[in-house]
């Protein structure tokens, strides 16, 4: 068997003394979109922070066969894992251009970087108009697009997306998720998507995990979960 793309075993995470994740197990196949669903406070953000090594954890995290649970956040990013954090993590005082350049800061292939900026403009034309503007002056939707654009500049193998729909108008969310689907297909970026908006995420993803108070309580193909009325009623509330 070839090495799993992303594989997490018995992952426990802590803020100081407080444990917030309890023995998580999950896997993800290359090229796919996996979603992690759960109510507010379930531990979704903590799971992503654990993957990016921003949280103290005990357990195994393997990415392309390599154990990453003892690496620094910077080194995980350099392996090709781009984390679009909760709240977007925009460098608000820097320009859109500088934010995008920062996405590629760990790449040595300077010449290809300019091309990638153009590619990102194709997906997010608004960013071209705002290129020399301070990122803090962008609208919420534009900032989310910038955050995703910045992550793409890493040429990531895996993107970790923390509630990209949060705080955005429904129309903008539709547009954004459409672009995520295209990115997944055209750029071959695997995505690990954290969402509260279950119906939206299940439409996009191929596989889903359901998190409750730091434990995985349900998992399966997104299609099955979407179509199972019992699960929807009892766990997803729609």
């Amino acid at each position: 068997m070839s090495a799993q793309f992303l594989s997490v075993r018995n992952l426990n995470a802590f803020y100081g003394q407080t444990q917030v994740l309890f023995g998580l197990d999950f896997d993800m196949a290359e090229g796919g979109i996996t979603t992690l669903l759960g109510a507010n406070g379930a531990g979704k953000t903590s799971t992503l922070r654990a993957l990016s090594r921003m949280l103290h954890t005990v357990g195994d995290i393997r990415f392309e066969g390599e154990e990453i649970s003892r690496k620094a956040t910077e080194d995980v990013a350099r392996l090709g894992i781009a984390h679009v954090p909760e709240g977007r993590g925009t460098f608000v005082r820097l320009t859109v251009e500088e934010n995008l350049q920062l996405g590629a800061i760990s790449r040595p292939d300077k010449r290809a970087i300019a091309n990638d900026v153009d590619r990102i403009f194709n997906y997010f034309p608004k960013l071209r108009e705002r290129y020399y503007q301070q990122a803090g002056t962008l609208s919420g939707g534009e900032q989310q697009m910038l955050a995703i654009g910045r992550a793409l500049m890493l040429r990531p193998k895996l993107m970790l997306l923390d509630e990209p729909s949060f705080g955005l108008a429904p129309l903008i969310v539709q547009e954004l998720f459409g672009i995520l689907r295209t990115l997944n297909r055209q750029e071959k970026v695997s995505m690990f998507l954290v969402e509260q908006n279950a119906s939206l995420a299940l439409d996009l993803a191929d596989h889903a995990y359901l998190l409750e108070t730091g434990r995985v309580v349900m998992s399966g193909p997104a299609k099955d979960i979407r179509e199972d009325e019992g699960i929807r009623r009892s766990y997803l509330g729609y």
């Binding site: 921003m54 956040t73 910077e74 990013a77 350099r78 993590g89 460098f91 920062l102 002056t137 919420g140």
Partner: protein, 292 residues
């Protein structure tokens, strides 16, 4: 009127000194969000190194650049060896270490080079350039040096990838790590650059105030004042702040009755308080526009 212009020019000359120091202060403040109280002592020590090199026969500019290199390395080393291990410690731990560094460097310099004052040469000479007693060649040269340092810094932060990475690391360390910036090393680099700028400041100041272990005591205070007036966020603000403090100090000393030169130092403190009361983010401090 003549007296006024004279005092403004003199103020600009001393302001250049404060501007140098304020620049070094802001460099560190940007990186670590604290004032480095030992900054002045580090600059003083660097100046002694330059003096020692010249005693050993180095020509001025060779000593100048070697000192900058040594100071840069020492700044990086201090961050890696002392401040990295306590990175997450409370502010008070940082303050204690700053004070310890201050005392250690001060007495170490006194131990090696003694507390007697030493003359330090100026590479620009001391001839007046704008009429007798107005602006000396050294004053003019010092201003030029401040300008060059500022330009270099601007170019570095604006046009290089590593400068961009440093700005990102200072603005938002978590996001910077997520894009792969080695934030710890950016901090160390910031320390190195601040130490190097401090060295330049020390070497420019020493011909004016003479070289001795306590030469930077009041100057650091003025440097802080300049940095605070400048808003603590930008090198340009720091330099403008430094010049403002120099000019205000000189004018107050001359034109406010009974305000003798002994009272000058309190001007720096009064200015900090006044600016912070009116504009908490400093005169040149940036306000961020954010939409959500």
């Amino acid at each position: 009127m003549d007296l006024f212009i004279h005092q403004v020019l003199a103020g600009l000359a001393t302001g250049a000194i404060y501007a140098c120091m304020a620049l070094a202060v802001v460099m560190i403040y940007q990186a670590i969000d604290h004032f480095n109280f030992a900054q002045g002592e580090m600059a003083m020590f660097s100046t002694f190194i330059a003096w020692q090199l010249m005693q050993w026969g180095f020509p001025y500019w060779a000593a100048f650049f070697v000192t900058i290199g040594i100071s840069f390395a020492a700044g990086v080393l201090i961050e890696r060896a002392i401040f990295r291990p306590i990175h997450d410690a409370p502010i008070l731990s940082h303050v204690v270490i700053f004070i310890a560094l201050f005392v250690i460097i001060n007495s170490f310099a006194g131990f090696i080079w003694e507390f007697t004052i030493k003359a330090f040469p100026s590479p620009f000479g001391t001839k007046p350039v704008l009429g007798e007693g107005l602006l000396s060649a050294h004053d003019a040269g010092m201003m030029a040096v401040v300008g060059i340092v500022l330009l270099l810094l601007y170019g570095f932060f604006r046009y290089t990838r590593i400068g961009l990475a440093m700005r990102a690391a200072a603005a938002n360390p978590d996001s910077a790590k997520l894009v792969g910036v080695r934030v710890g090393w950016m901090l160390a680099l910031g320390w190195g650059m601040a130490a190097a700028i401090g060295a330049v400041a020390g070497m420019m100041i020493a011909p004016v105030v003479f070289l001795e272990p306590n030469m930077m005591l009041s100057i650091l205070l003025y440097g802080f004042a300049g940095a605070v007036v400048g808003g603590l966020t930008s090198p340009v603000g720091a330099v403008l702040g430094g010049f403002s403090v120099g000019v205000v100090e000189n004018l107050a000393g001359t034109f406010i009755p009974y305000f003798g030169s002994e009272m000058k130092l309190s001007i720096a403190l009064a200015l900090i308080v006044a600016v912070l009361m009116v504009r908490p983010s400093g005169i040149f401090g940036r306000k961020v526009v954010t939409r959500v």
